[in-house]
Symmetry: C2
Subunit: 173 residues, 2 copies
DNA sequence: ACGCATGTAGAACGATCCCTCTACCTACGC
DNA sequence: GCGTAGGTAGAGGGATCGTTCTACATGCGT
């Protein structure tokens, strides 16, 4: 059932987020997914598919967490996005972006790199739309990526810095 | 003749940069290092030590590439740092920061995380000094990390964005 | 000429890897 | 009552893993 699939994907996401993409064995993943090995392989016929399933699930949850129910006003929306991302880092991704971690573990995998690019493009596109900055996806990607990567080093001070940089972005041509 | 240790470290760095930290076997690393298995284990007694040796070598080369012979004037120095990092990405690190890749492959390894933090702290400190922005290490880390992570997605457009953000940083209180 | 440090080549070990397979259980529509 | 779908438990194969070890070659100071 689809219910089983999402439960498996949620468990896989948790396992990869906690232990990285290299370390967990398929048996570890089976334990995290809470199903038998056979069922796990039925829904994700190889370890690579398990990675994809985890990332798909992660993408859904991330987009919902960051972009759902944003304020209408553009400045407030961008500030809220920064706060949501900082909140996400605090409670979910204290080690950094899961997509980058997946690509780092297998940098030759073109499919994974494409998945990363699509995820980041969608984030930038939603951020540009919510903040009323169409065409500024590169600027927004830079600040969001900087926030995401710096947060493990400097915590909430990074969020404050990102908010000020976003104000500067909106004032820039 | 170059020191055996540095030759090994250079080969290891190249292997990990090309194939990530999870994929290469010790035999692959031996081939990349260009020495025998016994010699490799003499200088790096475990695979983890090989990772450390590669990262140490990477740190030396990165700092030299980005911070050597910068202009005296603060604005020009910061612009040069951005250009140097973009140049580094173009020719050396098209997949992203090697330290983040190492941590992503083994997020539970506290020693690796400490190595990452020290590397980033040293980069931020040197950047703050060169650009005449003491105490602004968090801001600089955010822009530099954003540039480093976004570059694989948007290439030199990211560098242009980073330069404008650096100008904004210097104009901010 | 000789000892020693330093190197190469590669076999072998036990562990672990991903994946497949057999055998059995349970819920449910007809 | 019974077949089928979809599940569990777990053994095992074949390959590869990190690491150690033996056996041999080479350069160099004395």
């Amino acid at each position: 059932m689809t219910d089983t699939m999402t439960r498996i994907a949620a468990g896989l996401e948790r396992a990869f987020a906690a232990n990285g993409f290299a370390e967990p064995s398929v048996e570890d993943l089976r334990d995290a997914a809470g199903v038998s090995l056979r069922t796990l392989y039925k829904y994700a016929p190889s370890r690579d598919e398990m990675v994809r399933a985890a990332l798909d699930h992660r993408h859904q949850r991330y987009m919902a967490h960051v972009f759902a129910d944003l304020p209408q006003e553009h400045g407030a929306a961008l500030g809220a996005i920064v706060d949501r991302i900082a909140d996400w880092m605090a409670r979910e991704a204290s080690h950094g972006c899961l997509f980058h971690a997946a690509v780092a573990a297998a940098p030759r995998d073109a499919g994974l790199r494409a998945l990363l690019a699509r995820h980041k493009a969608e984030v930038a596109e939603r951020a540009a739309r919510a903040s009323g900055l169409p065409g500024r996806e590169v600027d927004l990607t830079l600040v969001i990526e900087g926030l995401t990567q710096s947060w493990p080093l400097h915590g909430d001070a990074t969020a404050a810095s990102a908010r000020r940089l976003c104000d500067a972005l909106r004032a820039m041509p």
